[in-house]
């Protein structure tokens, strides 16, 4: 090991842990500023998320969302693209899922609807990512800006559709009608009745998310396309020189990314709500950025990071209930700090750690 380099376990284990620790310490300080005891807060948070069956079920439910959106951001990252539009793609993907469910739920059982809903969500999500991807590849408009714009366009579009077209007659709240049994994914509490999931909405989409992780892992590291995506991300010029079409890779990667984000609706629309709701994505698309950063773009890392954020979301709700002065917005603060320290400031501790290891290795060499 040469000077200035770190062993892999430090690079992938210790540094992210230090970043996370910094984020949590600052979060703790915020709690102190509010005038509460941070250790008490952590206790309620962990208990709320893991301490009992229903809480754990919710943790898994939230984690499912974040796995989808995290994978979406990660796949784009591998191609050097920053897809900040996961939120909009998930939102529009939910529309695709809802349309499939609305069309089929009265005629067939759920397991017939399910594959079509997956296709619906993936296609709609991919379609929403296609335009930014195409514009970046062909017209050179920056993908970060276009995907941000498309988040807002998606929001306006969905408000219009929900409050004017999909709303059932005679109701006031902008949402679609409830799906019948044929459009509802089975909840885990009904599938595994021996395990106590309480009233939590964790459903079969959780296993879909895990399956998608395997698919993404195979795609990125064991296929030609994945190799091209990673080459393009590492060095676009070299990739182009090697005969990889930048236009094709950009568009295809964005399609995959959008499709993954679009699948999030399976969990919320088909699993939990069993109808299309206003703003159902609820920021999960943005959490995906944090998840992808923390998980270092690898499905295993993404699952772990999603579990952590699932824990924060569910635990945060419990915490807000037990200590009302710490409202649920605490989660948003923690999330922001994780993005800041694990993302933008990811190299902050590196020089110190490198210095530490250099001294350590030189002293062992002398001995």
């Amino acid at each position: 090991m040469s000077k200035g380099q770190l062993p892999r376990w430090v690079d992938y284990g210790v540094l992210p842990a230090l970043n996370l620790l910094a984020a949590f310490i600052i979060s703790g300080l915020v709690v102190v500023v509010i005038g509460e005891d941070p250790f008490e807060a952590v206790k309620w948070l962990v208990w709320g998320a893991l301490g009992y069956g229903e809480g754990f079920g919710y943790t898994l439910y939230y984690a499912t969302n974040f796995i989808f959106t995290g994978l979406a951001v990660a796949v784009a990252f591998h191609a050097g693209l920053f897809n900040i539009g996961g939120e909009g793609q998930a939102y529009v993907g939910g529309l695709g899922i809802a349309l499939v469910c609305l069309a089929m739920d009265r005629f067939v059982p759920w397991w017939v609807t399910f594959p079509f809903a997956i296709i619906g969500g993936a296609v709609f999500g991919a379609a929403w990512a296609f335009i930014p991807g195409y514009l970046q590849a062909k017209r050179g408009s920056h993908i970060v800006i276009t995907t941000i714009m498309f988040n807002f366009i998606a929001s306006a579009l969905m408000v219009y559709l929900l409050s004017n077209i999909l709303i059932p007659q005679g109701t006031m709240s902008p949402s679609s009608r409830n799906f019948e049994a044929g459009g509802q994914l089975p909840l885990l509490r009904n599938v595994f009745s021996s395990f106590d999931f309480g009233q939590s909405p964790v459903n079969l989409a959780f296993f879909l998310a895990l399956a998608v992780c395997v698919v993404v892992w195979l795609l990125i590291w064991h296929t030609k396309l994945g190799y091209e995506i990673r080459s393009f991300g590492a060095n676009p010029d070299a990739a182009a020189y090697a005969g990889i079409s930048p236009v094709r890779i950009t568009v295809v990667t964005m399609l995959i990314s959008g499709a993954l984000a679009g699948l999030m609706g399976i969990n919320v629309v088909m699993g939990e709500q069993t109808r299309l709701l206003l703003d159902f994505a609820g920021g999960a698309g943005f959490v995906g950025i944090a998840v992808a950063l923390m998980g270092r773009g690898h499905p295993i890392g993404i699952i772990l990071a999603s579990m952590l954020f699932g824990l924060l979301y569910q635990g945060g709700a419990e915490l807000a209930f037990e200590i009302p002065t710490i409202s649920r917005d605490m989660i948003v603060v923690i999330q922001a700090l994780v993005i800041l320290f694990a993302g933008a400031l990811e190299h902050m501790f590196r020089p110190a750690v490198v210095a530490f290891f250099d001294r350590f290795s030189s002293s062992t060499a002398e001995a």
């Binding site: 408009s141 408000v159 922001a336 993302g343 190299h347």
Partner: protein, 322 residues
């Protein structure tokens, strides 16, 4: 008819002001090479700080000052991450947005216990409308009278400040040594560095100016236009300002016209809500809400002119490679 036009244009001015401040803020930052997705967060943070301070100290000016301070602090976090640590500027901006969205409501709830709001501000603790000289006497002059009295007069001081900031920004960016250097580090930092300029210092100064202007924008929302802070009250204005900045091709005067256009769309949407337009029928409000974003996407795609950002924007400057 004239009254309706004046009414719509009047609210155009009010709605453009926060966009204009934020757009000019983004202009300084991006001209120096720092991409700022975090305008939204800075506006929101400033809005909260301004409303809270204006309430506690019973003064809009202290509110404005507090707003600017918080906004500059957030800008410095962004600066530290993107200049000193050479982190990803988009990621840092996203973090700033979340930080503001979370902290404002969290602290608001902890301090004022009104569901994340700040207590309503009385007129004396807000920036009130100013009546320009002779507005009342000239109001009866046909056409020009109402325009002067109702459109130009009768805004609060921050509205005028935002429009005054346009020529000032133009002058700073294009006519001062600082502006020249700022543009140089945004286009070609290594050349500027070779010429003996500190890229780091210049970019930090740009981020601080960006923070100050976002502070004005936020304070306007909560202490001038509104009467107190409401959760998520910036409602995407930072992103519209970002869109406006691209639409304006990173030029101050264009920025003013773009912000007026986007403000006008907003005013029109409010005005036309539930009304029939002859020949077209009822246009959904959402069309007007989405229009600024759609226009920006179309512009970015190069279908109406070309929007070319400062060359070095978004790229951290590395002085020496080891």
């Amino acid at each position: 008819m004239l009254d309706t036009i004046i009414l719509v244009l009047d609210s155009t001015f009010r709605l453009s002001t926060p966009l204009l401040f934020a757009c000019l803020a983004g202009l300084f930052s991006e001209r120096s090479g720092i991409v700022d997705i975090g305008l939204e967060g800075k506006i929101l943070g400033a809005a909260f700080a301004a409303a809270a301070a204006a309430y506690v100290f019973q003064s809009p000016w202290i509110g404005l000052l507090a707003g600017i301070m918080v906004s500059v602090m957030l800008a410095l976090v962004h600066g530290y991450a993107s200049i000193s640590q050479r982190g990803n500027q988009v990621v840092s901006g996203v973090a700033i947005n979340f930080l503001a969205a979370g902290l404002t409501v969290l602290l608001g709830q902890a301090w004022f216990s009104q569901g994340g709001r700040t207590p309503a501000l009385s007129p004396a603790t807000r920036f009130e409308s100013l009546t320009l000289p002779f507005a009342d006497t000239l109001a009866n002059v046909p056409v020009l009278g109402p325009i002067y009295a109702n459109l130009i007069s009768g805004h609060n001081i921050l509205v005028y400040a935002s429009f005054a900031a346009v020529p000032l920004t133009w002058w700073i960016i294009f006519r001062t040594r600082f502006g020249l250097r700022l543009r140089a580090v945004g286009e070609n930092p290594s050349a500027a560095d070779t010429a003996g300029l500190s890229v780091t210092l210049l970019r930090y100064r740009a981020t601080i100016i960006c923070g100050i202007l976002c502070g004005f924008s936020g304070a306007y929302l909560s202490v001038a236009q509104g009467a107190g802070f409401i959760k998520d009250m910036s409602a995407g204005k930072g992103f519209i300002a970002l869109a406006a900045l691209i639409f304006a091709k990173w030029k101050p005067v264009n920025a003013m016209f773009t912000c007026l256009l986007f403000g006008f769309l907003d005013a029109l949407a409010i005005r036309l809500q539930g009304q029939e337009i002859p020949g077209i029928g009822e246009v959904p409000v959402q069309v007007f809400q989405a229009l600024p974003y759609v226009l920006t996407v179309v512009l970015l795609a190069g279908f109406i002119g070309r929007a070319i950002p400062p060359k070095a924007s978004g790229i951290p400057y590395v002085k020496e490679r080891t």
